[in-house]
């Protein structure tokens, strides 16, 4: 499975927490401002990235880079 890099648009994030639930190694919600950010290298297998992009309630997550 090809790896892809994901990113969070923090203007759009509503702190739904779905990303952190699905992929806790890649996403973390800030405890104070309750906005998600990517931790580490932000790499996910394509299929799992597609699920988390789809399930984000505010469409704040996108695939920004295909890993070569």
């Amino acid at each position: 499975m090809a790896m892809v890099r994901v990113a969070v648009d923090q203007e759009l994030c509503i702190g739904g927490g779905i990303c952190e639930m699905l992929e806790p190694e890649v996403f973390e919600l800030d405890d104070d401002i309750v906005i998600a950010s990517v931790i580490g290298d932000g790499l996910l297998p394509r299929n799992r990235a597609d699920v988390v992009v789809d399930r984000c309630p505010s469409r704040a997550i996108s695939v920004v880079e295909q890993e070569q």
Binding site: L12, I14, G15, G16, G17, I18, E20, M21, L22, L29, D31, D32, I33, V34, I35, V51, R55, P57, S58, R59
Partner: protein, 423 residues
Amino acid sequence: MTSSAVVEGPNVTEPSLYLQGIPHDRFAELRAIDGLAWHPYEDGGFWAVTRHADVRYVSRNPELFSSAIGHTNLWDLEADALEARRSLIDTDAPDHTRLRRLVAGAFTPKNIRRWEETVRAITVELLDEFVAQGGGDWVDMVAAPLPIQVILTMLGVPVEDADYLVELSNYLVEGTGDAQSIPPDAFGNTTELRLLPFNSPASHALFEYGEGMRQQRQSDPQDDLVSHLVQAESDDDERMSRSEYRNMFHLLVFAGNETTRTAISHGGLALAANPGEWQRVLDDPALIESATEEILRWATPILHMRRTATTDTEVAGTPIAEGDKVVMWYASANRDEAVFEDASRFDIGRFGAGRTDSDHFAFGGGGPHLCLGAFLARLEVTVLLEEMAKRSIGLEQTSEPVRARSNFVHGVLSVGMQPSIVR
């Protein structure tokens, strides 16, 4: 309205229809037609969105389908009423984003898990009493007190007031139907009913209660959700207005108890009607999460939400005109055979062992209005099932359910149950 695919048949907005349960056969007919059905309602009508894929599309495109125009219930509100009643439910971005962020932190998966011991302690006490009494009214004894006690604890509201707030919630549910049993001036109300959520004088009482809490926490802040909201309302950043505070308090109390109460009521009915399915969970506890999701799909506590088209557009090939009402029937989407095989069967293992990423619409169809309390509701149902499994008890139904007269809330007012030893 741009075209008229009117489909003859029972009117799914008739509140009395729901006294016998969701009209699933009628929804199956509506799902089977090409495009969307135009459904009559009062002087006009709405587009009935009944298929899972179409509900998903409408729900996830808030730029095309607004929550802030008209109303999120079937009937339109006048501008002043909409403003007075505006809550998280009735807003689009950026207002919705601002309000949601004020409360989102309390309801993230990580922070909800911190309430597990509280939820378990409340559940154990209620369940032990239910067993000790040899059963009784499942709604009064378990389904209602569990979620109200949890949400009041989170808010910082005295749990002794749970019965009063459940009573107010019951009147609010009546307000979604067509048979309010209390007079307009009940609870000392002097506000025009059209300015109150669910057109109910009980909303006045809930606003008053929230105002009392606001004043208390203003002078004596605690580590609770009301104090957090009061802080947001009173600081200099104008993160929240007074009207937004009272509607938020109203929403958290109502949605925090009514919806999960409904899920647990229907969960009880489903377990009693399908003892073999419950036995599967007892034999394989890894199915508990799937059981929670299936109970949520089965219960669909909120039957629909409405959106209003912001522009001329189309759904499923049907042209929609700007200003048209578009109603997402979650009750129908959750029985869509295109997504759920054998959808009218209560299949407790449907979502697989350990799965939490289910695709039912008990929490709405996705998008920014995804139920704020989704993880809390899941925790409450899961802990209840775990504690029932621990005691090796099932449920036997001892009386017919009394259902809510509402096309909006899939409520159960009472149903007799007794515990049965299953092994």
